[in-house]
Amino acid sequence: MDTIDARGQECPLPVVRAKKALDKIPSGTLEVLVDNETSVGNLQKLAKSLGCTSQREDREEGVFAVIIEKGEGAQEVAADSPDAFTPDEPNLSDAVVVISSETMGVGDDKLGKNLMKAFIFSLSQQDKLPKTVLFYNGGVHWTVEGSEALDDLHALADAGVEVMSCGTCLKYYDLESKLAVGEITNMYVIAEKQMTAGVVVRP
């Protein structure tokens, strides 16, 4: 049984994380730990909307566990069914940011690195955050060990922003084992995220 520890995280983050985990498996059990009632209720609604069963366990010190069982052939209910459930993500816009280089702009590379670092910081200061930040080619240097933008990227990821780095690029630069924030992704996802974005932002 996998466990997601979402204590300290406010709705909708636990629900978003649970949905991602459940979408990845054909069947199985997922335990989600939360520390507030709102998330318990929403996790149970999520389970129902995905055709799963759920059980709640009140643990000590204000911790709750929601145990979700996904059976083979569990079907997500139709979007117009009363049981359908999509968590609001009021903090996220439908923008996708694409970072394809170590530098921002063309001219001086030292300035360019400082600009991109400042851009990533400024992104973390927006009231509405992008839904996804994609990193490829030179951009993967920002998501690996030693990057000066890691604190800001962690802050974005903690706030529910998808932070994704191209696997092929990480391998090419021999950085695969050094990924320090977010997930590894591939070109299909990179294409899909941009195609379905409300706006694509390329600093």
Partner: protein, 79 residues
């Protein structure tokens, strides 16, 4: 939920002063980081040094002892 918390922001009259701050901070382990100047403040240089208010005393003491030039000190809410 992300919430903004108060930060001390030290502004500089020129990029040279800002760069000197960063170098000295690195050498002496002064807390804080360089960020673009928040829109609610105006300053000579577009980069400033920022630290959560809890580290304010440590920062101001270091500015004095290192003899660093700066333009102003502000308090701003940042994420």
């Amino acid at each position: 939920m992300r919430t903004k918390t108060p930060h001390i922001v030290v502004t500089f009259a020129s990029t040279d002063e800002a760069m000197a701050m960063e170098e000295t901070a690195r050498e002496q382990g002064i807390p804080g980081r360089m960020i673009p100047v928040p829109s609610d403040i105006s300053a000579g240089c577009g980069l400033c040094w920022s630290v959560p208010v809890d580290d304010a005393e440590s920062l101001t003491a270091s500015l004095e002892s290192a003899g660093l030039s700066y333009e102003g000190i502000h308090v701003v809410d940042l994420y």
